[in-house]
Amino acid sequence: MTTATAVYDPQLPGGESAVAASARRLTKAYGAGETKVTALDAVDVDIQRGRFTAIMGPSGSGKSTLMHCLAGLDTVSSGRIWIGGTEITGLKDKQLTRLRRDKIGFIFQAFNLLPTLNALENITLPMDIAGRKPDQAWLDQVVETVGLAGRLKHRPTQLSGGQQQRVAVARALAARPEIIFGDEPTGNLDSRAGAEVLTFLRRSVDELGQTIVMVTHDPVAAGYADRVLFLADGVIVDEMHAPTADSVLERMRRFDGKRTS
């Protein structure tokens, strides 16, 4: 797909091979004048390729907005965003749609699947839409990895919540996107099902070399990531490498303390 109009910006640090997505001075504001709310305030961020990045922050910190902007689902007030060397700020709806279709995978908190399609059809839907044939060997591997082999003909209503999210993960992986965005992918699951899904995400990074960005408020979920970005009031205030659930929780507590003081 070569619809991108903007080329890779050489002033970006790190180089193409290392960065899957990046944003510079990304600002997002709602409303105008007195009622103006700044959700993101000149955020600079780089998402490393082949790594699992978690974005954390309290409610209203702008973490979901950051993800939506990076994924081309939302428009920005100012600043620039690149996905895999393509600048997406300024792209038209048609080009954005193609970009999402060909380069991005999504996992939402709930309602990830079309009730009218069975599990396999849901998994191959992005490729169907693009009119591409799925790579059968890769598809088998993905299905194998997420452990759905026996349930491919089931409709979503016949699957448990955890199974549904695994189908969503498989769908995101199957098209081999540049990057996968997860919006609280385990937010609706109990801890066991959540752990299952997170394990799959972790494995897909380790074994399949997938790039994943996940928004979460759950320190346990963030503990699966390689790197955690902490957002507060629309600004990245901290980051942590090789986090554990406890270290993330500890970091979060300090935030809360700062905020209430």
């Binding site: 939506h68 689902l73 939302d74 709806d93 048609k94 749609t97 193609r98 999402r100 279709r101 060909d102 991005i104 995978g105 999504f106 939402f108 309602f111 990830n112 079309l114 009730p115 009218t116 399609l117 059809e121 839907l125 992005p126 169907d128 839409i129 693009a130 009119g131 769908r171």
Partner: protein, 855 residues
């Protein structure tokens, strides 16, 4: 409290309600428009007749029960002396003898074109009289003063571009009579659309009646006595069985005859109202079902906090009531517009109704509100009941989209039983011996199969769309696949949406099978049994000997054949007396011109003085060849004739009886024979049929009242008659399709709202706007085509059965109009595309993020 909830909810769903509202408005508009129109027309004519009727009118005696006037008989008259007698009745100021006949034609001799209305309203020719209540007054020129002068009404003169001094010809059975227009007269009140021409009294008597007499005597009182008293006195004075009528009686009679002319219009309009009611009913049911489905959680919550079933039920019905009242009010308004439109239409035809005196009685409001409110509340009742059954737990359950309606076994069984019953009745109808019993089975079968299909709709939706939609994924990729799945995910809704379309299309297909069978049956009959080349019809006026001579003398014409039609009475061997149509024909009728299929006996026997009768008549009355029948022609002339031949039924002559003209002439003197209305001509052997037709048209160009058709032209005439009926049906169908399209729009719009999250998801993972819009369009097309397929199946079943039922009634040949069916199916695709325009546009504009975030 409940009312407030209902009102809020009503306005929260404005868009959806608007579509249902249109359905209610249309139905009510047709009902109230029809009422306003007919009220206005009636009151206009009331005024006309009230203004012009004489106080007492004395008319010729009513013919005795068993001596009805024959078609083409002489006009009945009263003697001239009656006028003086009546004038002498105490209280009568003046009595005027009037001549007025409807069997003459006006022709412009300069152009050989007909003057006056060609259909519907009559052309009347009479004597100019001065009465205290003349319907017309001279606006230019003067009254006819001698045998060569004529007064014409202004509207007709204007239309025919005739003025003072122009020539005008009056043609009737007595021949051609030319006059000069000496005066133009205008109607004092309303012109009912007729053409009127007046001669001086002596000329009118001589030309129009052929005797010194009047067609009626109109008496006007001096005001000293009531009309009833005058009538009684007049009756006592004149006696002799004359019909004496007061002004009120004349008015009632005239209203009745005008009324029957307007009835067709009225019934057509009520048909429109009925169709929009039925189809609109489906739309309303669907709308409320969707509203209820959408609000499952809300209603569950209402129930959980203690709302009773009745309250929930009531709140839905209250919404329906609001819709009904609003729809009826708007509908009555639109109905006034329709009435004005109809009046304009009547004006265009020549009837001078005034849109400014619209008669809006209380009946308009009563009927309008009754129709609008009853249909809405009844249609909303089913969904309301369903709403009240929603369990309080539904509020707590995560719902997303409403659960797929489980296919109901009871529903399936009922649907299957109804459909099977309907099909069985249709088969019975097709095999019925008698058309009348067949017709009853057919009517019931149509009804049952229709209801059966509506009930089975959801089941069929799943099955049929699986087959229909199998092609979609292959043709349209992911959009096709998603559309197919979406169309079947709520079969009940799809079924109800398609049902509205199905009804309309079943009607059109059924009617077109019927009409195309009628046309091809007649064509086949003509080819098989008609040997004569030209059919010459006289229309309103009788055929004169001059016309026949002109045809006879045309080069290329071998001979002409005449036919005189009697409404005769047969006294059967068992003593019973039966009425039947009897045609007295010249010998060439059977020898060369017509080949009627014979059941028993020999056609030649007619030439030898026997009677030919129809198969059904023979069967019904146990008649067979050799039986003797006493035939009573007009005016008591009788003759005993043996039955010589029994004819099989044919669409051209039905069940008519025949006798040779010479046989008839032995019993009926020439003066008492009816005039000819139609005659036939055959081209000589070797003559060019087409060129002879041109020659005939040339020879008869002085008589524009005649229609000359060769066989092809006659077939076209039959076709055009059938087509007139078809246009009305197409109008009905157009309306039902309009309402059905609203239903599809409604369903799709709701689906789009319901599936907001799904659409957001699809857009997020890369479905383009175009693909999304295509998905919705395809779903719409699938629903429309599904409806069309069901409609076609039903319509074909009805049409074919109707043809079988009427196979002996002139519908012997089945003809399936493949073009119409193909056009219908293609049109249903277009309907689907149109209906999807707005919902697809809306879905495309949805914000992806907001859509995903919807709960």
């Amino acid at each position: 409290m409940m009312l407030k909830t209902s009102l809020r909810s009503f306005f929260a769903h404005k868009g959806r309600m608007a579509l249902s509202l249109i359905a209610v408005v249309l139905s009510v508009a047709f009902v109230s428009g029809t009422l306003v129109f007919s009220n206005t027309a009636t009151s206009t004519f009331d005024k006309l007749f009230a203004a012009t009727a004489s106080d007492v009118s004395v008319q010729p005696p009513k013919p005795a029960e068993d001596d009805d006037p024959q078609l083409g008989d002489k006009v009945p008259t009263v003697p001239v002396a009656l006028a003086q007698q009546l004038a002498a009745v105490p209280g009568v100021k003046t009595a005027v003898g009037q001549v007025m006949v409807g069997d003459a034609t006006l022709v412009n001799p300069a152009t050989n074109k007909l003057v006056g209305p060609t259909s519907g309203a009559p052309t009347l020719v009479g004597n100019w009289t001065d009465t205290p209540r003349n319907a017309l007054h001279i606006t230019s020129g003067h009254v006819p003063q001698n045998a060569g002068e004529l007064v014409l009404d202004a509207d007709t003169a204007k239309k025919a571009k005739l003025g003072l001094g122009d020539k005008l010809r009056v043609d009737n059975a007595g021949g051609k009579h030319e006059f000069t227009i000496a005066g133009i007269a205008s109607f004092t009140t309303t012109n009912p659309g007729a053409a009127l021409a007046f001669l001086d009294t002596a000329t009118a008597q001589q030309v129009l009646l052929g005797e010194q007499a009047y067609t009626s005597v109109e008496a006007f009182g001096d005001g000293s006595r009531s009309n009833d008293r005058l009538k009684a006195d007049a009756l006592a004075k004149v006696g002799g069985g004359y019909q004496v009528k007061t002004a009120a009686e004349q008015k009632a009679e005239n209203n009745k005859s005008v009324g029957s002319g307007l009835d067709f219009m009225k019934y057509a309009m009520l048909g429109f109202a009925g169709v929009s009611l039925i189809v609109g009913g489906f739309l309303i049911i669907n709308t409320f079902s969707m509203l209820v489905a959408q609000r499952t959680r809300e209603i569950g919550l209402l129930r959980a906090i203690g709302g009773s079933r009745r309250q929930v039920n009531g709140s839905v019905l209250a919404e329906a009531l609001i819709l009904g009242v609003l729809g009826s009010t708007l509908g009555i308004g639109v109905g006034l517009g329709i009435a004005v439109g109809l009046i304009k239409l009547m004006n265009a035809i020549g009837m001078d109704l005034k849109a400014s005196d619209l008669q809006i009685g209380p009946d308009v409001f009563v009927a309008g509100y009754a129709v609008g409110i009853v249909i809405t509340v009844v249609a909303a009742w089913i969904p309301a009941r369903r709403a009240s059954k929603i369990a309080p737990m539904a509020a707590l359950r995560d719902h997303g989209t409403p659960a797929e309606a489980r296919s109901n076994i009871v529903r399936t069984i009922i649907g299957l039983l109804l459909t099977a019953g309907g099909a069985g009745l249709l088969v019975l109808a097709a095999q019925a011996e008698k058309a009348a019993t067949g017709g009853q089975y057919l009517g019931l079968g149509v009804l049952l199969s229709l209801i059966g299909f509506v009930v089975l709709g959801p089941l069929l939706a799943t099955a049929v769309i699986k087959v229909l939609g199998a092609l979609l994924p292959a043709l349209f990729g992911p959009s096709g696949k998603l559309a197919q799945r979406n169309a079947t995910r709520n079969p009940r809704r799809t079924g109800a949406t398609a049902a509205a379309l199905m009804i309309g299309l079943a009607l059109v297909i059924g009617a077109s099978v019927f009409s195309s069978s009628a046309v091809s049956s007649t064509s086949a009959q003509i080819d098989k049994s008609v040997g004569v080349d030209y059919i010459i019809g006289g229309g309103r006026t009788p055929v004169t000997p001059e016309m026949m001579d002109a045809v006879r003398k045309t080069p290329g014409v071998d001979h002409i054949t005449t036919e005189k039609d009697f409404d005769a009475k047969f006294q059967l061997p068992d003593g019973q007396t039966k009425r039947t149509g009897l045609a007295a024909v010249s010998p060439t009728f059977f020898s060369t011109d017509f080949r009627l299929p014979v059941t028993s006996g020999a056609v030649e026997s007619i030439g030898r003085g026997s009677l030919g009768i129809g198969e059904s008549f023979a069967k019904d009355h146990n008649l067979k060849v050799g039986d003797s029948v006493t035939v009573t022609y007009a005016k008591g002339h009788t003759q005993v004739l043996p039955v010589g031949v029994v004819f099989a039924k044919s669409s051209l002559y039905g069940d008519a009886s025949f006798v040779d003209a010479a046989t008839m002439a032995k019993a009926v003197p020439a003066a008492d024979q009816p005039a000819d209305r139609t005659f036939y001509a055959k081209a000589s052997a070797g003559a060019d049929v087409a060129r002879t037709l041109t020659a005939l048209e040339g020879a008869l160009k002085e008589y524009p009242q005649l229609t000359i058709k060769d066989q092809a032209g006659y077939k076209e005439l039959v076709q055009s008659q059938v087509n007139t009926l078809l246009y009305l049906i197409y109008g009905l169908v157009g309306l039902s399709i309009t309402v059905a399209v609203l239903g599809v729009v409604n369903t799709l719009a709701l689906s789009v709202v319901e599936r907001t999250r799904e659409i957001g998801l699809l857009r997020a993972i890369g479905l383009s706007r175009r693909q999304l819009r295509r998905m919705i369009r395809l779903e719409s097309v699938v629903i429309a085509v599904f409806g069309a397929v069901l409609g076609t199946v039903l319509g074909l079943a009805w049409g074919v059965t109707a043809q079988r039922v009427l196979r002996d009634q002139g519908l012997g040949t089945l003809s399936v109009p493949t073009t119409t069916i193909v056009v219908t199916l293609v049109a249903s695709v277009v309907i689907g595309l149109l209906a999807a325009l707005f919902p697809a546009f809306r879905a495309g504009r949805m914000n992806v993020l907001a859509a995903i975030a919807t709960d």
